[in-house]
């Protein structure tokens, strides 16, 4: 069974309204450019994407409440951005590399990183969320925009080695103003690098609305670098999937970089330490609830006669299990011996570090001695 389409919508490249395949009401609409990129998707596959989103949302809300309960140090929630993250993640091949920011929780979940290890980062007992080479995901970045250069560099390397893998850079609306991001686009364009710039415009960079970063439409920036841009409804998983598939296809077939602006909304605070009431109205948040990325898939599937109740129940069972694992894992984390802080500063023993390690150990030993 393939997904049926009804009316036609405005073209994406006009940028007036983001391209959409599924309205907030759950109506499948036509799109000249995007349709063919999801033509193969049947209802079950859409239901699977829904299950992914439920899983990711549950993970995120559980981590958020664990942080509020003091079990983790900090959490940047992705609530509201599930379609943008899952839709783009599912457009990638396993061999494709991703370089994202602190808020990108979906791809690591979908690629099966070891959660207990990952959470150590948010409990501040480790910096190593996962093995980049095992999952083809660069460690999430806190330095805004830095990873976009890494994504381009990976793509240049893949091109050089002719190994058919591509990369995707995830970044926010705020990040678009960092010099690194502009420079990344220059390099991508100059070297025709097989990379996708995936910008989640979630409305805010901490307290600053997107209007501080750009007077008009973020997607328009790309044209100055000769990079084609697509602006999609980031809460529409079909549109996100289609646009990312399109962009990855361009990259893989030698057509170089693309830019996607996924228009979405950060439903939660910037992080667990933020207080959004200082800079945005609750009405605004409420107005986005109707545009929820999960709700519209449910509505559409329902209208197609899919057993949504069963789907919801199954997805929940799945997600609850992950949340349980997450909670147990987070609570169990204990700091490793502090002497490990001297490890891996260099690839081989380093005189100064080793001297300090010895001094540290002597200090710790003398301290224990004094305390006992």
């Amino acid at each position: 069974m393939s997904i049926t389409t009804s009316t036609t919508e405005q073209l994406a490249d006009e940028f007036d309204s983001p391209a959409r395949l599924l309205t907030a009401e759950g109506v499948r609409v036509r799109h000249e450019i995007l349709d063919e990129h999801v033509a193969d998707l049947d209802l079950q596959q859409l239901a699977d994407l829904y299950t992914d989103m439920v899983l990711v949302r549950r993970f995120d809300t559980e981590a958020f409440s664990l942080t509020r309960q003091g079990e983790l140090a900090l959490w940047p929630p992705l609530l509201g951005q599930e379609a943008a993250q899952v839709g783009s993640a599912r457009a990638l091949e396993d061999r494709d590399w991703s370089f994202g920011s602190y808020r990108e929780h979906a791809l690591p979940i979908l690629r099966g990183v070891d959660i207990d290890r990952w959470l150590k980062v948010w409990k501040t007992t480790s910096n190593t969320a996962w093995d980049p080479h095992e999952h083809n995901i660069g460690l999430n970045q806190i330095i805004i925009g830095a990873q976009t250069l890494h994504a381009v560099g990976y793509a240049m390397g893949a091109q050089f080695k002719q190994d058919d893998s591509c990369s995707i850079a995830y970044f926010g609306d705020g990040a678009t103003t960092e010099g690194d991001v502009s420079e990344a686009m220059v390099f991508a364009s100059t070297y025709n690098a097989p990379v996708v710039f995936f910008c989640q415009n979630n409305g805010y960079a901490i307290s600053e609305p997107t209007s501080v970063q750009a007077k008009h439409v973020l997607a328009r920036r790309a044209s100055g670098f000769d990079i084609p841009a697509y602006r999609v409804d980031g809460n529409d998983i079909l549109a996100v999937l289609a646009a990312t598939r399109l962009a990855m296809h361009r990259a893989r077939t030698g057509h170089g970089p693309s830019f996607i602006e996924a228009v979405t909304y950060r439903m939660g605070p910037h992080t667990t330490t933020d207080d959004p009431s200082r800079y945005r109205e609750n009405d605004e948040v409420e107005s986005w609830k109707e545009r929820d990325p999960l709700l519209r898939v449910e509505r559409f599937l329902e209208s197609e006669g899919f057993n949504v109740e069963q789907l919801r129940a199954d997805a929940k069972t799945n997600a609850d299990a992950l949340a349980k694992q997450l909670r147990a894992g987070a609570i169990a984390i204990q700091p490793d011996p502090a002497e490990q802080m001297f490890d891996n500063v260099y690839s081989s023993p380093h005189a100064r570090i080793e001297r300090q390690r010895a001094e540290y150990k002597a200090f710790a030993a003398s301290y224990e001695k004094a305390a006992s």
């Binding site: 140090a73 900090l74 602190y102 150590k120 980062v121 948010w122 409990k123 501040t124 007992t125 480790s126 910096n127 806190i142 330095i143 805004i144 705020g174 990040a175 103003t177 960092e178 010099g179 690194d180 960079a205 901490i206 307290s207 600053e208 501080v212 970063q213 200082r278 800079y279 700091p335 502090a338 490990q340 802080m341 001297f342 500063v345 100064r352 570090i353 300090q356 010895a358 001094e359 540290y360 150990k361 002597a362 200090f363 710790a364 030993a365 003398s366 301290y367 001695k369």
Partner: protein, 341 residues
Amino acid sequence: MSAAQTETMAMGKAINAALADSLEEDPSIILSGEDIGQLGGVFRVTDGLQDRFGKDRVLDSPLAESAIVGTAVGMTYAGLRPVVEIQFDGFIYPAFDQIVAQVAKLQYRTGGLHRMPITIRVPFGGHIGSVEHHSESPEAYFAHTAGLRVVTASSSQEAYSTLRAAIKSDDPVLFFEPKAKYWSKGEVDRTVVRDLETAAVLQSGRDVTLATYGPTVELAMGAAAAAADEGIEIEVIDLRSISPLDVDTVAASVRRTGRLVVAHESQAECGIGSELITSICETAFTSLEAAPERVTGYDIPYPPAAWEGEFLPGVDRLLDAVDRTLGRKNSRDFMRGGAAA
């Protein structure tokens, strides 16, 4: 001074007051930084300033540190005195080029025909249990660069008065704010004037000089109190200015004590302690009765915060170094095999 002149303020509030008083006094002052307006800064240090002084004087800037500093340079040509905020220590590096290659050098390049009255505020230091890039102490990079003044503060009063002086200065000043102390309260007398070059002896003592700055000053006072219980007198110096260092004040102290310990959170190698100890060796060598000691963050990237208690100087590490200068039993005895037993 009458008691009525002092107010009790947390350090963050004292900085807010210094910014407000400066904005009030001098219409050429303009503030720029990420989230400093509507939000009042991620630490609320600039709370209320945009409401009070307007959006054209308190700018919520786009997210680009190089541009925040680079446009501040341009503003000085327009006759303004920009005070910019870098949100966290670890985010100053995109602006490094503008600070080091432009801000630091333009007075020299113009032969003094153009002045560079820029203040760059940087919350710095650890002990806040945060994730990567939020706890660094990058001051030595800037102290290494000619043309920049680098100062810090250890109390509400110092923060107020030093920031006021920094903003008034025609030189570019990096003002490192010990973020872990933003909520520590202290008395502030707004009439107290500070310069940007002198250290302060906070407590006198005859046995060992302990020189430090910013967030480590409180620990030094704690160490001095603990040492006093054992009959050891520590002279505590708050360096206040990191560049230039007030070598005279420290040397005068070392001539009395014969011993020097320098402490800071930033790493040892090519650090402020290295510079100070070298300067003391050059000026007061014959007064030294023991090798000077450094207590610093180790020479590793800032570690995951669960280990920051071990990584950063603490009272015990300070006292251990004091013991070394006094030839008392100390942790290094544990390194020479057997002594631990």
